[in-house]
């Protein structure tokens, strides 16, 4: 009987130890996920408006600007975000080191030599915002070009200015059009934040990997999936609601 009791106690202690560990891992992952959400939110904040500007650039009637922007979008969409992250993070330092070694520095070289390495988080935000702005710009462009010429002409004949035409008539129709591809891209962004790990930003994947080194635990890495899933679930519900809200009319 005594022995049985000891066994139960033992089980309880083990159980308690697992619970403690689970809570500890959860708390650590939550901290990492906070960083994930920060990358996510700041990228959206920068890329949504920047994408619109790039979209206008790629639709410009001024051919050199149009082709410059199109080439830029091609490069950004044609190379991996991970590579862009590495270039932004390591590039400035390499350029500065090369410039400092030049024998006869002119003004430009001196300026290049003064380049400093970005903070890790800054490098992440620069590369993420540029990358996602390029993807968004193509979605915006598709949305804007899907609006019939007649809508613009109706506005023109009614004496509306270009700004009134865009903000009062075109934009709402564009938003309705781009919600489905946009939600796709935004959900991808949630998962792409894990790339920040490559330059040692303490997001959720990094914080889970820390347990491999410290405690030899692999399951926290698997556990991160739940965080992504729940957050993307919430986003899916949100976008569904917005789509439903805009469903009161058809083009």
């Amino acid at each position: 009987m005594f022995r049985q009791r000891a066994q139960v106690l033992c089980l309880f202690v083990t159980y308690e130890r697992y619970l403690d560990m689970f809570l500890e891992v959860t708390l650590d992952l939550l901290t990492g996920f906070g960083k994930t959400l920060e990358i996510f939110a700041l990228t959206l904040l920068g890329a949504l408006p920047l994408g619109l500007i790039i979209a206008f650039g790629s639709m410009s009637k001024f051919a050199p600007l149009k082709w410059l922007v199109k080439t830029f979008v091609w490069i950004i969409r044609g190379t991996p975000l991970m590579l862009q992250l590495i270039v932004i993070f390591y590039g400035p330092g390499l350029v500065a080191a090369w410039a400092q070694d030049m024998p006869n520095p002119n003004g430009l070289v001196q300026w290049l030599a003064s380049w400093e390495v970005f903070e890790r988080m800054t490098a992440v935000l620069i590369s993420f915002i540029i990358n996602y702005a390029c993807y968004f710009s193509e979605i915006y462009r598709g949305g804007i070009e899907s609006i019939s010429k007649g809508q613009y002409e109706a506005c023109q004949v009614l004496g509306m200015t270009k700004a009134q035409t865009f903000f009062k008539v075109i934009l709402m129709q564009v938003i309705k059009h781009i919600i489905p591809p946009m939600s796709n891209e935004i959900i991808t962004l949630v998962k792409d934040t894990s790339l920040a790990r490559i330059i040692a930003v303490y997001e959720i994947i990094w914080s889970a990997q820390a347990f491999i080194k410290s405690d030899g635990l692999i399951w926290p890495l698997f556990y991160t999936g739940a965080f992504y899933l729940i957050f993307n679930g919430l986003l899916t519900v949100l976008f569904g609601k917005i789509e439903k809200k805009l469903d009161y009319y058809h083009n």
Binding site: G150, Q151, A154, Q156, V157, L158, K176, H250
Partner: protein, 260 residues
């Protein structure tokens, strides 16, 4: 005095000369119909007068204001062109209503934006907006759609949508209202309601210019008819002269296709 004067108007798209010197006047309160086969330049003429296209040569005067003058083209700023457009209204073949706005919002949107330029707008905002809504409801009643004020374009039939677009153009109080084949996108059984609305406007002494393929309607409603062919005015006169007793061979050939 003529409310609309068009002088020696030329327009081409690339090497395709669409308008080859158009001249005509229109008196206030009169109804002009422009007929002719597809590609004869009717729609381009309308688009040039409403500044949707810029002509190459010629002069257009609406109610004493020079809307276009090839001799003086650089003197017109974009802002002036925009203001000039306010004196003309255009009803499109394909309606071009704003799908995200209700019927009443479609009719009042541009008028309300326009009202923001009034010096007393801030002081009397509510009163001005109420006035615009009231005026819009009167116009909607005139086109028989008062009870549809809160519907959306996608909930309306083609004929109803076209009547909303007529109401939208009327709300801007244009000097001249232009119609670009207003019934061509409609099922035959729906054209009657549009023609009835246009007849009502003609009876109210609005100045109307109608591009149409409805010969019987053009004969009934018009004071003056222009038959266009290959970028020029081939024949013009009263409906009696042009539709009943045409003198030009091309007019006769065109009309005979409608009588079959």
């Amino acid at each position: 005095m003529a409310i609309l004067e068009v002088r020696d108007l030329h327009k081409s798209f690339g090497s395709n000369n669409v308008l080859k010197g158009i001249n005509f006047d229109l008196e206030e309160g009169k109804v002009l119909s422009i007929i002719g086969s597809s590609g004869s330049g009717k729609t381009t003429l309308l688009r040039c007068i409403t500044s949707l296209e810029t002509a190459e040569k010629g002069k257009i005067t609406v109610n004493g204001n020079v809307v276009f003058d090839s001799e003086n083209i650089h003197k017109l700023t974009k802002e002036e062109i925009r203001k000039n457009r306010l004196s003309v209204g255009l009803v499109f073949q394909s309606f071009n209503l704003f799908p995200q706005y209700s019927v009443i919002e479609n009719v009042t949107l541009a008028v309300k934006l326009q009202a923001k330029n009034r010096p007393d707008y801030k002081k009397n905002k509510k009163q001005i907006l109420d006035e615009i809504d009231k005026n819009a409801m009167e116009i909607l009643a005139k086109v028989g759609l008062a009870e549809k004020r809160d519907s959306y374009p996608c909930q309306l039939s083609g004929g109803q949508q076209q009547r909303v677009s007529i109401a939208r153009a009327l709300a801007m109080k244009p000097d001249i209202l232009f119609f670009d084949e207003p019934t061509s996108a409609l099922d035959p059984e729906l054209t009657g309601e549009i023609l009835k609305v246009i007849k009502g406007l003609a009876a109210d002494d609005m100045t109307l210019v109608i591009v149409t393929h409805e010969m019987a309607f053009a004969r009934d409603v018009s004071d003056h008819i222009i038959f266009m062919d290959d970028g020029v005015i081939c024949e013009e006169g009263t409906p009696e002269q042009v539709i009943v007793n045409p003198t030009q061979e091309r007019t006769k050939a065109f009309l005979s296709r409608f009588q079959q």
